[in-house]
Symmetry: C2
Subunit: 516 residues, 2 copies
């Protein structure tokens, strides 16, 4: 099995050259990741302007290698056309997959000339800067023209990249290869039918979870204790200290600086220790994925196969493991040791507090039940915009209307509504759905893991995470980006994307927790 | 005056293109610096192998831009030959200097083909790895064949680069442009005549400095206190927190990650707080140089003009300021506050302890009087090797003999002798003299500063370092690498390199300290 990840030594010259260029892209990408990590953690502030120039140069060097004539000639020679992705030669599995991946990425990159990429980059910089201003001033009208420009360019991008009748699909494909808006709409619609009544049912109960959460709300949790608990959890997850780091940043993230150097960050909220701990578990889930890719695989395939699959790994650890009763049963003594303010609460109360469900305005603070509704809201608006059925000037009102329909609440300000996320301001359209797909994939994988590891919950309760980690590694992490998400799900679970495992998980957990 | 640093907007196309390539080299070099900084500070250890590949790729991209055909064509077109370095066009001062610098660097880089550079890189890797082994095992014979290979390649390099009868000069030129072995030999010989008797005279006195040093030797200084003191000194030196950082590494260093991002490191010795504090002041001297280059100057000229001039800035702050009685007079209250173990010692005792002179085996631990003798020893051996008058197999014995002549002591082991420095194992021949040149330049500059700022010592005694910093910036830092060291010294001091200011400084200070 592990032989499949090796590339053949006697590959044709064109493949060797393409693989060399791909390796250079990989090394440049990891170098760029270090520049980014440093910017968010330790960089002195006056360094910002030149850092942007350094990043722009590395981005150009990567684009030249991917989209340039030399790569085009290699791929042509190898017959890697969209219609015949592997050519006719006898290539190893890993080499075939490299070619397929390069073919896809090259085609996309080659469609966008340097001038267009530069226009998009400028519009994204202006978008971000003015989004910050607009959010601060709670003034969507200030942001609207910048967003309109970005939407116009993203429509152009979709048209340049091409690929089908639905412009949105061309954008989505960058984040979730092979996925289409139609499939997402179908699965979201089925989820919604079950999620909206579930949230409503929970809302009608004023039961203990909310009480336990409130009991913790008045306390103050020192950062040092939160970090110690976080590091104890990372050790139990077998996140390796010789290949990773935990630091602090304004927004938690994971970044791959090398095959054996995948770093995570978190932020600590002294009022709510669940926030920092959840972020640590979430980001470690991402990091284990990147670290778990088979070391023989080409460097450029040594990352996640899609944002949705990536999010499945973070969500699985954060929610299915990290918000389970078994998990907190194991960590209760350490929780009480590192954060003595929790000493008065029982395991059941901690479990309840970790799983309070309440419709709220801000996506990143949402619980696991309402979270997907936040995503559906954004997906429907994005699709409306890309199809020309909705105008940017009407987004603010449309947001409020969707929020009322999906979450039953209406944000009182745009800063808590349409201006809350950074994504659109960077030109990231088609990104949001992958967050909800991550929940669905996570539930599918966790269900499969429960079949394959019958005493999984008992192991979690004993802090034995290695069997789960190894299962995830061998089933999901090892092939990295050599597979497409649909292939991976089929291979691991034997079925297509399905919302029901996730709904079953939520129904089972919250029916019991809220006594529905 | 500041107009001179601007490049002209209407420059010829070939100059614009050469400047673009130079800017890319600058950005890649700064990115590479971040990779190096990270490796020495925060990088998880398993990341090492790929980090080496990332660095090798960036090095190749820089070499391609500097040595490649496109740069050659631009320089040809601009007439930047060694004989006519600026061409005939009307170029701004900054553009002329960029061309001169590019011409020099291009010519050198173009002489060395990729295969040779790769051979040298492999030999240096093997050299370093086996130097570590040999030093650990105290076995020079193990290291000798690797060093012989490196010497052979360095002879080839000198021959490929060419430039004169003395092979050593071709190597020296990389570190100290325009300097020759003959000039160094002359100035070293004159220094030696005065230094050897000075060290001997001090050795015959068993006076108070040694006593005060010993009184501190038994104590334990907490790292936190040392760091607080170091940061207080950095603030007084106006090392800017928005453009720099202080971190911990195994060996102290300064690195430029961006025009406005120059970072320093130190290490703390709990038994000897002078070591860590001296390193902080030393490295901050380097950092202020890099940060002081005029912001209008081309990115590729935005660094020091030679290793010797760079070392003058670190040595001036470390020794002439940081080991002065006035300096410790100002910082005594903070010293006693942050390191309460020093409370029993008077200012005179602290001053004495900071300036203990004692011949020792290890260069990096040497005081400022004996330090240059360590450098002369290495210079004479390097010159003998490069001239073929000394063989590698005889280096160990030659080291002991030179040590006896210069320092009056003989190292009992090779680890404390010929194996103590990393430089030769990396193929750095011609580097050592720049350390001693730094002392000479420092004394020349400090003497000139004392003329221009009559109350300099009184200001230092009040912790007022800004006038000195501003003087160094306007006289030495602003032109960066747009000047050659000899031009700079001539411009600032009106004379050529001279050892006497340094000897005057030592004689005055130590005659008084040791009551000679």
């Amino acid at each position: 099995m592990s032989q499949r990840y090796k590339h053949a030594g006697d590959a044709p010259a064109a493949l060797k050259r393409a693989a060399q260029l791909a390796d250079e892209i990989g090394l440049l990408s990891h170098s760029s990741s270090l520049l980014g990590w440093d910017q968010e953690t330790y960089m002195p502030e006056a360094a910002l302007d030149e850092r942007a120039q350094q990043q722009a140069l590395l981005a150009r060097l990567m684009h030249e290698r991917l989209a340039g004539d030399e790569m085009a000639r290699c791929l042509d020679e190898l017959g890697a056309s969209p219609a015949r992705p592997f050519g006719t030669q006898q290539l190893s599995w890993a080499d075939q997959r490299l070619l397929r991946s390069l073919g896809r990425s090259h085609r996309r990159a080659a469609c966008l000339n340097a001038d267009f990429v530069s226009q998009l980059s400028v519009a994204a910089s202006l978008g971000q800067a003015n989004w910050i201003k607009a959010r601060h001033a709670n003034d969507f009208a200030h942001f609207a023209p910048y967003l309109s420009k970005l939407i116009e360019l993203k429509r152009q991008e979709a048209s340049l990249v091409g690929g089908g009748a639905e412009a949105y699909d061309a954008l989505l494909d960058e984040y979730e290869p092979g996925m289409g808006a139609a499939e997402i709409a179908t699965v979201f619609s089925k989820m919604r039918e079950q999620l909206v009544p579930l949230v409503a049912a929970i809302g009608q109960k004023s039961s203990s979870p909310a009480y336990a959460f409130d009991a913790l709300a008045g306390k103050n949790f020192l950062q040092a204790g939160q970090e110690q608990l976080g590091r104890a959890i990372l050790a139990a997850m077998h996140y390796p200290t010789d290949s990773g780091r935990l630091d602090v940043s304004a927004h938690p993230f994971t970044t791959t600086v090398g095959r054996k150097d995948v770093r995570i960050t978190t932020r600590y909220d002294q009022k709510n220790f669940f926030a920092g701990i959840s972020s640590i578990v979430h980001e470690a889930g991402h990091a284990l994925y990147e670290l778990g890719v088979h070391p023989d695989l080409h460097l450029m395939l040594s990352n996640g196969c899609s944002l949705g699959i990536h999010e499945s790994q973070s969500r699985l650890w954060e929610n299915m493991v990290g918000r389970s009763r078994a998990f907190w049963g194991h960590f209760l003594p350490q929780l009480q040791n590192f954060l003595p303010e929790t000493a008065g609460l029982s395991l059941q109360e901690i479990y309840q507090a970790a799983n309070r469900v309440k419709a709220s305005f801000i996506r990143v603070d949402a619980d696991e039940v309402t979270y997907s509704l936040h995503v559906m809201l954004r997906f429907e608006l994005e699709l409306g915009i890309m199809r020309g059925e909705l105008e940017v000037k009407d987004l603010s009102e449309a947001w409020r209307e969707k929020s009322r329909q999906l979450l039953g609440i209406v944000p009182p300000t745009d800063s808590q509504g349409v201006l809350q996320d950074i994504h659109w301001s960077m030109g990231s359209i088609g990104y949001f759905p992958t967050y909800a797909l991550g929940n669905l994939y996570a539930a599918m994988f966790y269900q499969q893991a429960s079949y394959d590891i019958p005493d999984l919950e008992a192991q979690v309760g004993q802090g034995q995470f290695l069997p789960l980690k190894n299962w995830l590694c061998s089933k999901i992490h090892q092939p990295g980006a050599a597979v497409l998400p649909s292939e991976l799900v089929q291979e691991v679970c034997g079925v297509r994307l399905d919302h029901q495992p996730f709904m079953n998980y939520l129904n089972r957990k919250y029916t019991q927790l809220y006594d529905l």
